[in-house]
């Protein structure tokens, strides 16, 4: 079966009178069904450009993007996609509820279902009090959340989100992360961009790292977290009454050390992995050249 999202050798150059910017260079990757794929890179790396190409808002100079095997230049592929643009702008003369109804209508959803989904999402994203107010009066974070609601109202199998967590307060960030993880639990595929490393750590199965338009690496996140363990901090007491001691143990010596402590009647009070910061890994890749 074809991938929910696949890019092959996508390139895009912006040409203006004075400058040429290679925004995206020969980017290829495939997102598997049911995974959360993080697209990580600093500002100006080419994330939004890639996403705009996927959504057919701009045209690639070379290469193709496909949704379930169909070129994304076809409007019908967007039936399967929920899209949140970067800092979304939504018709501000409508109310939040009206906008969701409009989007539901475009997707051809039945009236009853639109209302049900719309209430559900407004509630979930804590927008219910503002539902009947003009979007004009929304704060940046509210707009972002409404943007997310309109992206998932039709329960699409693929989500494409450009910086979904930007402009949100800490509580809403958690809310949105939970929502993304929930979508995965329901079998959906999520592709989202971010410039914040910790966003990737928590939720992603895989991460693609882009810089200067070049896809530097595509990695699974879990092994990275595991491999990152450099040592264990062990706190123990030799006897019930004696003072606690702390030692650092390398992963290879962990078992022998544990046995040594417990066999002499000591008790382990704390065992904690010490990670090489994931951030270091990403920064290493990003700073490579």
């Amino acid at each position: 079966m074809s991938h929910p999202l696949e890019l092959s050798s996508v390139s895009k150059q912006y040409v203006s009178r004075k400058h040429r910017v290679d925004a995206v260079r020969e980017v290829s990757f495939a997102v598997a069904a049911g995974e959360i794929f993080g697209f990580l890179g600093p500002n100006g790396a080419g994330k939004s450009t890639t996403i705009k190409i996927i959504m057919n808002l701009i045209r690639a100079d070379r290469g193709t993007a496909t949704i379930f095997g169909t070129p994304s230049t076809k409007a019908e592929t967007r039936r399967h996609v929920g899209f949140l643009p970067e800092n979304p702008a939504l018709y501000d003369y409508m109310t939040g509820a009206e906008y969701l109804r409009f989007v539901g209508n475009v997707h051809g959803m039945p009236k009853q279902r639109i209302r049900q989904r719309s209430d559900e999402l407004l509630m979930l994203l804590d927008l219910l009090p503002a539902a009947k107010r003009a979007i004009r009066s929304y704060s940046k974070g509210m707009l972002q959340k409404l943007g997310l609601a309109q992206a998932i109202i039709h329960d699409p199998p693929v989500l494409i989100l450009d910086e979904p967590m930007s402009g949100l307060d800490p509580l809403s960030r958690v809310l949105v992360k939970e929502l993304i993880v929930n979508e995965k639990k329901n079998g959906k595929t999520v592709f989202f961009s971010t410039h914040i490393i910790s966003d990737v750590e928590r939720v992603c199965d895989r991460v693609g790292i882009i810089r200067n338009g070049i896809l530097k690496a595509v990695k699974e996140v879990a092994p990275l977290l595991r491999e990152g363990i450099e040592a264990y901090r062990v706190r123990f007491a030799e006897h019930e009454s004696s003072a606690e001691q702390e030692i650092m143990v390398s992963p290879d010596d962990l078992t022998t050390q544990m046995v040594a402590i417990t066999s002499t009647g000591g008790t382990i009070r704390l065992l904690e992995p010490v990670r090489k910061n994931l951030e270091d890994f990403f920064l290493h890749i990003i700073r490579e050249d």
């Binding site: 808002l57 643009p85 702008a89 018709y91």
Partner: protein, 262 residues
């Protein structure tokens, strides 16, 4: 397309454009006053004023709405969210276009009725020599609407290639003035007075006459004002002309918008 049409009209309404129109319609109150001041040809004057005022307001509407609508969606990035939905770009452009034209038609209907009522009140006092043909009045306004629908399609065409509202707005104004006088220019070129004109200039003007829209063909105001019977074949011809022309311009706009990088 239907959805886009609906929200376009909603947007125009919410932007209080209609309030502006209502205020402007109050100017129609002057129609009976001015006409009666003239004491002579009250009917003709009242109808002329009503039709011209309606036409002028429709012109403002079409230049403003036609020039701004698409541009604003692109400029404020509303288009990103809209085109991320499973909508073809052609449906989006045509939906917006039909929304604006529907609004212009609605406005024309309202203004037409208001104008007719005020004219009627003026005429009541000074009965005309010839009975007014209200049917002609309706035709005059309807073809005015078609004229502005054509103008809006030009504004859309310019919007698809422009990154500012300057080209759509001023382009539409230019098209309007050139298109309104192209018939006269053509007639002049083919008249004996133009014998001295260079043949190249003549053919250039003739070519322009065929390429640019001929808004003069949509003007049936004299039939309404002087109660001259309608030439139905002429109406039909103009209607067919409108359909062909507007299809070409909108077709072009859609093709260009399909290639547009947002």
């Amino acid at each position: 397309m239907k959805n886009i049409l609906r929200i376009t009209i909603l947007g125009i309404m919410r932007d209080r454009v209609f309030h502006g129109i209502t205020v402007a319609a109050l100017v129609f109150g002057l129609v009976p006053v001015i006409s009666q001041l003239s004491m002579r040809q009250v009917t003709e004057l009242a109808l002329t004023l009503s039709l011209s005022l309606t036409s002028f307001l429709l012109l403002l509407l079409s230049v403003f709405l036609g020039g701004v609508s698409l541009w604003k969606d692109i400029d404020r990035r509303y288009a990103y969210s809209i085109l991320g939905l499973p909508l073809r770009r052609s449906d989006y452009v045509l939906g917006k276009y039909l929304g604006i034209v529907s609004f212009i038609l609605l406005t024309a209907t309202v203004l037409g009725i208001v104008g007719a009522l005020f004219s009627y009140s003026a005429i009541g006092v000074y009965p005309p020599n010839r009975p007014v043909l209200w049917e002609n009045y309706v035709y005059a306004i309807f073809f005015d609407v078609l004229k502005y629908a054509l103008l809006v399609s030009f504004a859309f065409l310019f919007s698809t290639i422009s990154t500012s509202f300057f080209l759509p707005m001023f382009g539409a104004v230019c098209i309007f003035f050139v298109g309104s006088s192209s018939q006269e220019a053509y007639n002049y070129v083919n008249s004996p007075e133009a014998a001295a004109l260079h043949p190249a200039a003549k053919s250039a003007i003739t070519a322009l006459y065929y390429v640019l829209p001929n808004f003069g063909a949509f003007d049936f105001k004299t039939n309404a004002i002087y109660s001259i019977p309608m030439d139905y074949q002429g109406l039909m011809l103009t209607f067919v002309y409108f359909c062909c022309y507007v299809s070409i311009v909108l077709g072009l706009a859609v093709i260009l918008f399909n290639r547009r990088q947002l």
